[in-house]
């Protein structure tokens, strides 16, 4: 792109120069020379190519090409430019993504894991898209539960059980508007107990037996279904299951570190998943560095290496490039830790509720990885961690792009493995739009961010840096979304409730986290994730 721009400017400057040069060479003459030059170079190219292919043919006939040396006149690209592809990446499985944008923020979690005790955890029905706000409760306040005991189930699909991540006593069932259940809070036991299954169905057995066991044991909600990102429907047969092993979102946890020590469970989890689909389990790996052994050594799965900026690590991007979905062809997805939890269940016959989460953001004194439970209490996690306890900060379950804002006394979401904290940006800035004083993340060339270099870490606040406007700029979403999708037209179709276009433009291939980077980059500050969810909800309601 930059080369194009530069050459364009050069061309621009040539135009007046040509104007001057006409004094020396008359107009028609110049055109003739130009044409002659083009024809001559074309002829040369053709001759070269013919000669080149003859040489190649001869090399093949004599068997000389098997020595690995090149016998072409024109050296191949690989010979001229040494390959940048790191060791261990299978070259024929690389998918290069040119669009995307990495937001490098302060407060990246350090490469270390520390245990962190929490006193409470809470399952939240609202974490599961499409679940009715009033699920059927299987427990009451005061009951004691073991890890893996059922807490509630959705009335629409009673077979899918939502279980306790850890053992303890139900101390509160927090309700919201219209008595909707917000949180089922468990006060953890000092000595954790697990619900044990003596008989684990063999992987060689019936698929249905595996499904029933997973439903019963409570790991089923860890599988999600595209389109819509709902909990997987046990009656569906997905055409593939996708697992992404790297997270490119800002301040994301290092999934290789997270999975450390769980390689057996991870492999067993993949084995289970591959029994659930007649298609394949697709493992998305980071193609920009040597893949960690735990993922590189996984077998029985199809590996794909993605090279690109965020959202290259999003499983939605992988699905789009490998096996896209529509309303009738569904796929399932699972996170790395979900695969581990499924593997642990089949290895040890017990529900595994442990999670490693990233404590991220510059408001924490020591951003790092923490080993705790899923759906852990935010209040417990941040205890003693804040750099400035009195500051107005925002807690986010997930990353700064697609995470959810949380109150200080609430809980991490079921699927999230990151707790982010950044400063609230509720202040005025004098001429902030024109002459910003401090550096801020942006992909616009109007900021001198390129001068700071690629490794500069930006301070992020929640200030919106401007007000919402109508769609004006075009092409900026396409520049950050590595998919064959026209996001702006899709958004307009959703706003206009145009079903045919929504479907046709690839609504089914997107969920919020995929479009989040477009929302970040949007000059008009449009709420793209909200619009997209509205479209997805409409389509899901249509059936």
């Amino acid at each position: 792109m930059r080369i194009l721009r530069l050459s364009g400017i050069a061309l621009m400057l040539c135009v007046p120069a040509l104007g001057y040069s006409q004094g020396a060479v008359s107009g028609s003459n110049l055109t003739q020379y130009l044409l002659l030059g083009i024809v001559l170079s074309l002829v040369l190219v053709v001759i070269f190519m013919v000669a080149n292919s003859f040489l190649g043919l001869e090399a093949r006939m004599t068997g000389a090409d098997r020595t690995g040396k090149s016998f072409a006149i024109i050296p191949g690209r690989d010979e001229l430019i040494p390959s940048k592809i790191p060791e261990g990446v299978q070259k024929d499985r690389i998918i290069t993504l040119n669009q995307g944008f990495d937001i490098n923020l302060l407060g990246q979690p350090a490469h270390e894991i520390e245990d962190k005790m929490v006193t409470t955890v809470a399952m939240q029905p609202a974490n599961f898209i499409g679940m009715s706000p009033l699920p059927k409760l299987a427990v009451n306040v005061g009951d004691t539960v073991a890890a893996g005991d059922e807490l509630f189930y959705d009335k629409k699909i009673g077979r899918v059980k939502y279980v306790a991540p850890a053992s303890g006593e139900i101390i509160e069932i927090r309700r919201g508007e219209k008595r909707a259940i917000l949180e089922v809070v468990i006060l953890l036991d000092k000595e954790q107990r697990q619900r044990k299954y003596e008989v684990v169905p063999p992987l060689e057995g019936e698929r249905q037996a595996l499904v029933d066991f997973m439903l019963e044991a409570g790991v089923w909600p860890m599988l999600r279904q595209r389109p819509y990102n709902t909990v997987a429907d046990p009656d569906e047969t997905p055409k593939g299951i996708f697992v992404s092993t790297f997270d490119t979102a800002p301040q994301a946890p290092d999934l290789a570190l997270v999975a450390q020590g769980h390689s057996v469970a991870f492999q067993r989890g993949l084995d289970v998943l591959s029994k659930l689909t007649p298609g394949r389990v697709h493992l998305g790996l980071d193609g920009t560095s040597t893949p960690p052994t735990i993922f590189a050594n996984a077998f029985g799965v199809e590996k794909h290496y993605f090279r690109g900026k965020h959202p290259a690590g999003n499983v939605g991007i992988h699905i789009h490039h490998i096996d896209p979905v529509d309303a009738t062809q569904v796929v399932w997805t699972a996170g790395v830790q979900d695969v581990i939890a499924i593997g642990e269940l089949f290895l040890h016959g017990a529900f595994y509720g442990g999670r490693v989460i990233a404590l991220a953001g510059d408001e924490f004194e020591r951003p790092r990885h923490l080993r705790t439970y899923m759906c852990a209490s935010i209040a417990d996690l941040i205890k003693g961690e804040l750099a400035y306890p009195d500051k107005d900060v925002r807690y986010i379950s997930g990353d700064v792009l697609s995470g959810v804002q949380k109150a200080g006394d609430s809980y991490l979401n079921f699927y999230d493995d990151q707790l982010t904290s950044i400063e609230e940006g509720n202040y005025f800035e004098l001429f902030g739009w024109l002459l910003p004083v401090d550096p801020r993340p942006s992909r616009s060339g109007t900021f001198p961010n390129k001068l700071f270099g690629k490794d500069y870490q930006y301070k992020a606040t929640t200030n919106s840096h401007g007000e919402q406007r109508a769609f004006v700029v075009t092409g900026e979403y396409e520049a950050v979304l590595p998919m064959d999708i026209l996001p702006q037209h899709l958004m307009k179709a959703i706003m206009a409730n145009d079903f045919e276009r929504m479907e046709g433009l690839g609504l089914y291939e997107l969920v919020e986290e995929d479009i989040a980077i477009c929302e970040f980059a949007c000059t008009s500050k449009q709420p793209l994730q909200r619009i997209l969810r509205q479209g997805l909800d409409t389509m899901r309601a249509q059936g």
């Binding site: 400017i9 001057y20 490998i322 739009w433 401007g466 007000e467 989040a516 980059a521 500050k525």
Partner: protein, 440 residues
């Protein structure tokens, strides 16, 4: 500063006084980026917003404003045969340029922004920044002597019919600045076409005609400033020199091709733009500078600009080959030196709202603007310049171009999924060999 901002914010006029509130809000958000925080979506937003985008286009035009102002005065004195050197009589030329340009700029922005404020108040939303660029572009593309009431009327038409009727910034089909200009072009053709209108300060461009000076020239500048300082003063008795026509290169090219043009102007003059013409469209070097700024900052779409150039070059080559009239024989690269091709490609065609919105569509859109614009310039006997009309024409077709690009995207997706269902893989991405199932 924080306290000032909060005080000003808390003491905004109440929302019952809609117009006052809207205007206050517009000026407040101009001075201070609002304290709004993100909600229900991304938590961190890009530092870029529409104000910043628009102001970068305006910054890109500043050299043109500076040069255009001076050139108004310069052309005036060249016609009179006084101070014919570019840097002679600097004070007079600058003063004369400002006398002409400031009213145009003020009227352009006062009328346009006035309508925007009023509509924003009526609709109860904040003032959008689209007019910032329109208001700055418009004075650059009109003749310096245009009566102010015609300018005001054209803006009325363009902003109300062309923009607010469609829903405001971001919704308009036609480029607002060009719509205002085309209104003048069809309603008051003598004000904006022919050889008569491009040199300021005369009722008629004929030899012996005297300039029409008013109070500003004779009293304010002559008696109060330049006289006491001992600088050159405006001379009301001066007259247009013999043989001066005020013709533009395009008019000359229509008469007798490149030879006729170069009899009057050198290519250097056309490059630097010290010749009669619209206020801001003349200096090709400064336009290229603006283009560089817009491309480096990524504010304008390089796809559009360069496909306009490519389209114009191709059309120019076709005309060179055809060669039926002297104008057609003007070498294609010389076409870039004349008229407002560069300005149109850099500032007019790149308006993101009215251009095609898909990346592929932008190539088609720009290419056709280039081709049609040059076609109108060369083949139309009545008015030898075509960018305004070709851009407006392509504005009308941009949604159609987008429609087909969108349809193509939909069909591609449908086909991809059908092939999947049939178990076939295509596309470059799928060139992955069938994996060997590893056994445990």
């Amino acid at each position: 500063m924080k306290k000032v901002a909060e005080y000003l914010h808390n003491n905004a006029p109440s929302k019952d006084k809609a117009l006052l509130h809207t205007a206050y809000d517009a000026f407040f958000t101009f001075a201070f980026t609002p304290n709004t925080t993100t909600a229900n979506g991304v938590h961190v937003r890009d530092g870029m917003d529409l104000k910043r985008l628009m102001v970068h286009v305006v910054i890109g035009m500043q050299l043109l404003y500076f040069f255009g102002t001076y050139n108004i005065g310069h052309q005036h004195f060249v016609a009179l045969g006084e101070y014919t050197g570019f840097f002679e009589g600097v004070n007079l030329k600058l003063a004369y340029g400002l006398i002409k340009l400031i009213p145009l700029f003020v009227v352009s922005n006062a009328v346009g922004l006035g309508i925007e404020f009023w509509y924003a108040a009526k609709k109860g939303h904040s003032v959008e920044e689209g007019y910032l660029v329109t208001g700055a572009l418009l004075p650059l593309i009109i003749p310096p002597d245009l009566p102010l009431w015609i300018l005001a009327l054209s803006i009325f038409f363009a902003v109300i019919i062309g923009k607010e009727a469609f829903g405001g910034t971001g919704m308009n089909v036609f480029n607002i600045a060009l719509l205002a200009r085309v209104f003048i072009f069809f309603a008051y053709p003598t004000e904006i076409s022919g050889d008569q209108c491009w040199v300021a300060g005369f009722d008629q461009i004929i030899a012996g005609a005297s300039p029409t000076y008013g109070w500003f020239e004779t009293t304010f500048f002559n008696d109060w400033i330049f006289g006491p300082l001992g600088w050159p003063t405006f001379n009301a008795q001066a007259a247009i020199v013999d043989g001066y026509t005020g013709a533009t290169p395009l008019g000359l090219a229509y008469e007798g091709g490149w030879e006729r043009v170069t009899e009057v102007y050198t290519p250097g003059q056309m490059l630097w733009g010290n010749i009669p013409g619209s206020i801001g469209e003349m200096n090709k070097v400064f336009i290229a500078f603006g283009l560089g700024l817009l491309l480096i900052t990524g504010v304008a779409s390089w796809r559009i600009t360069f496909s306009v150039f490519a389209g114009a070059a191709v059309m120019g080559m076709i005309f060179n080959w055809w060669g039926a009239t002297p104008f057609m024989e003007v070498a294609w690269y010389n076409q870039f030196l004349m008229g407002s091709l560069l300005f149109a490609a850099v500032y007019m065609a790149t308006d993101p709202v009215t251009a095609a919105s898909t990346n592929t569509g932008k190539y088609i859109y720009g290419g056709l603007i280039g081709m049609i614009g040059l076609l109108i310039r060369v083949a139309n006997p009545a008015y030898p310049e075509g960018w305004m009309l070709s851009i407006l024409l392509m504005n009308a077709f941009a949604p159609l171009i987008d429609h087909y690009i969108v349809e193509a995207n939909m069909n591609r997706r449908k086909k991809r999924l059908q092939l999947r269902r049939a178990g076939v893989t295509t596309d470059d991405e799928e060139a992955i060999p069938v994996p060997q199932v590893a056994t445990a």
